[in-house]
């Protein structure tokens, strides 16, 4: 038989436990409600600079394109230039066979097809195309937009997120009265002042959700990603809003971003 003091103690313990339990239930409900209707919304913008130069063909593509052009040539008809060249060749041959004493002046006036071809070849030689690999490629300067011309480059910035600095796509928190797309555009214009980009559509391309453990009391976060095409301009770090930036390819993303963030980037960066 327990002593009355013990019983009292036990009862009190039970009571407090009960209240704790009910309080927890109420709290759970509140937290659940918060998660359902009140996550903090963020909008991030993925600015993509598309390739400026075609990618190198693979072996199969190279071989097949060669064979296709050969077949096309075989099945084609003669062009005006080729007809002219053939006619002149035949005329030249016939002139050679026949011992002639023509007036020398007459031949010098006409421009033959072969002359034209030589002229065109020499004209082509005077032109030098820009090289496909730039000095930025050699130096490996990751801030340069002229790097890796045959691949897509994505803009990453070093931004303070949740108190710490991370390499992320430029993001901003949603403010009341604007759409998520406007938030994304605001993120770009406020953080990367001079960059011009066309956002592709009103709908986000992916979402990253963060649901904290229930009794933490933290709010859930939803980060919506928008895709944009780069039209011109580069990041200006003098404003002080971003400490650093980089234009990197999709293979280099893992060098910069956190693994959990990269997981979400893979949903729309291919």
């Amino acid at each position: 038989m327990a002593s009355p003091s013990c019983l009292l103690c036990l009862n009190r313990c039970l009571q407090s436990h009960r209240t704790l339990w009910s309080r927890a239930k109420v709290l759970k409900g509140q937290v659940f409600q918060q998660v359902r209707h009140r996550s903090i919304l963020y909008s991030a913008i993925c600015v993509e600079r598309h390739p400026i130069v075609t990618s190198v063909k693979s072996k199969v593509e190279e071989n097949f394109s060669e064979v296709l052009s050969k077949i096309e040539e075989e099945n084609s008809y003669l062009s005006d230039h080729e007809m002219r060249r053939m006619k002149e060749q035949r005329a030249a041959k016939s002139k050679q066979e026949v011992a002639e004493e023509d007036a020398p002046g007459a031949e010098a006036e006409t421009v033959t097809a072969l002359d034209l071809e030589d002229k065109w070849d020499s004209e082509l030689k005077t032109f030098t195309a820009a090289p496909r690999s730039t000095p930025a490629d050699l130096s490996g300067e990751q801030k340069s937009l002229g790097r890796k011309l045959d691949a897509s480059l994505y803009l990453l910035v070093k931004q303070t997120v949740g108190g710490r600095e991370h390499w992320v796509l430029p993001q901003a928190s949603w403010a009341h009265g604007e759409t998520l797309r406007q938030t994304a555009e605001r993120a770009l214009s406020s953080l990367c002042v001079d960059v011009q980009a066309d956002v592709l559509g009103n709908a986000p391309v992916a979402v990253a959700t963060y649901k904290p453990p229930e009794h933490d009391g933290e709010q859930a976060i939803k980060l919506f990603f928008y895709k944009a095409w780069h039209r011109g301009g580069d990041v200006n770090t003098k404003q002080g809003l971003v400490s650093d930036y980089a234009w990197i390819t999709k293979d280099e993303l893992k060098q910069f971003c956190h693994e959990s963030y990269n997981r979400h980037l893979k949903k729309f960066i291919f």
């Binding site: 400026i52 130069v53 008809y77 003669l78 009103n202 986000p204």
Partner: protein, 201 residues
Amino acid sequence: MTGPGLNLSRLLASSLQGLFQTHRQIHTHGAPLLFKATQQLLAEPMKKKKRIDPSILAAREAKKIKKIDKEIKKLTRFGRILKPVAEIELPKKQFTLAKERQRTAPVLSFEELENRALLQKQWGRFKTNAWIHQQRVYDKMIAAQDEALEELKAESEYLYQEALKVDYGMVAMRFEGPKSTPPIKDYAPPDGDYVDTTRKY
């Protein structure tokens, strides 16, 4: 006794009935060889020519003349404008598919043909794999967007409806694909800049 027109067979039969009663008029031919008073007539008789009011006739003629005058006027106005070169249609066969323009068919060795066939198979496999990969990418992109829209809907109906709206600004968006070499900065073409002067209707 068939056929229109006047033939004398009936007359003959009726007039001579009394005289030659014993004779029977049996004709084994469909149309016995008898004289015919008129030609074989097979058409309907001519219609009567109606008199037309001369004023109406004159009006008809005037209309024809007016039409031709109008066309002459039109030609004199537009005839001077030359057809744009892009619209000139040359007789295709004469200029491009003439026999003299055909190449001599090259003789391909057996190895070359085999190589070509094998390369086509290889290409087919390559392209199929590329297509399958691309379809997977599309599926992933669509799934990601659907997930995003679902989460947004759970958050706010207003924002969700805004996200679903069609962006008509995208209609005017233009994009130029990659070339084989990058553009040269401040390049001055030797022939000058190309300005398109095609007439837009």
